[in-house]
């Protein structure tokens, strides 16, 4: 006997009370339980009849199908939720105007939305990852403006300090900033 059928055998009262004894009510019950009733009928002989075994197998398959369809529904819902999430943007910085700096080559920064409880973006974090410079803004535009301002002020701050006074993070920041921006005379 299959595991599902065995579990049903252990709790006959619960199952029997839920479903009708007579044929009319049996037709209105869920499809899988039709096979349960068929399977519950006493076989003519002491050993299980092939028809009963077949009915129990069908019942087991039906229950597995119900479980699988529920799992597919749940996975579909989760995939849809993931598809609805706003993706991070990679945005180039082409100018630092009006500040007296210009980009050297292409500067790519990442702008990530921060979601509120309802799943809508409420803030944006702009990051120049190479230089560990990051800011938070209410909009994408504000975050980008703040990031440019922060990169310039960080450049100015780090170049004012003697190199021996810079720790590991500031040293790496300065090297990254010097690689992507320079002061314009």
């Amino acid at each position: 006997m299959t595991p599902h059928a065995q579990s049903l055998e252990r709790e006959p009262s619960k199952c029997q009370s839920d479903f009708a004894e007579d044929e009319n009510e049996e037709r209105s019950s869920p499809a899988c339980w039709k096979y349960y009733h068929l399977a519950k009928r006493k076989p003519a002989k002491v050993s299980e009849s092939p028809r009963r075994q077949e009915a129990m197998s069908i019942l087991d398959l039906k229950l597995q199908l119900i479980t699988l369809s529920k799992q597919v529904q749940e996975l579909t819902r989760r995939i849809r939720d993931l598809e609805d999430l706003p993706e991070p943007l990679v945005v180039p910085i082409n100018t630092f105007a009006p500040r007296p700096f210009e980009p050297v080559g292409q500067i790519l920064v990442v702008v990530e939305p921060v979601l509120d409880e309802s799943g809508e973006p409420c803030e944006y974090i702009a990051t120049f990852a190479d230089g560990s410079v990051s800011v938070t803004g209410d909009t994408i535009e504000e975050a980008l403006l703040l990031l440019k301002s922060r990169m310039v002020s960080q450049y100015n701050l780090l170049t004012k300090k003697p190199p021996e006074q810079l720790g590991k993070i500031p040293q790496q920041q300065l090297a990254s900033l010097k690689a992507v921006m320079r002061r314009v005379q």
């Binding site: 939305p113 800011v135 301002s149 960080q154 701050l157 590991k168």
Partner: protein, 101 residues
């Protein structure tokens, strides 16, 4: 991937981090943000920016990235369990104390 939660680090918590790390305000008045510098033995070990806003719940989730630590560590710095010494060990600016090894 976008994050679901917001404001793990509010401005209020960011200011607590400033106090915990004994960060020095070295802001340029012309900037749109305040710049705080963390020093250890006269060496600048990190800097981070704080938004100029009177709203205490404004998000500052960028601070962990600037400090070079994870969001949870940064939060613990502001809340209490983590100290400046823990932070310096985490970013490799200080060795673990002998009794902690």
């Amino acid at each position: 991937m976008a994050r679901r939660s917001r404001n793990q680090i509010t401005k209020e918590l960011a200011l607590k981090i400033v106090r915990k790390l004994e960060a020095v305000d070295e802001s340029d008045p012309s900037d749109e943000h305040d710049t705080y510098v963390v020093y250890a033995r006269d060496r600048m070990v990190s800097t981070f920016g704080i938004r100029r806003s009177s709203q205490k719940n404004k998000g500052h989730d960028h601070i962990p990235r600037e400090l070079g630590v994870g969001p949870n560590f940064a939060k613990l710095l502001g809340q209490c369990p983590k100290s400046k010494a823990d932070y310096l060990v985490r970013i490799g600016e200080q060795e673990l104390p002998a009794d902690a090894q």
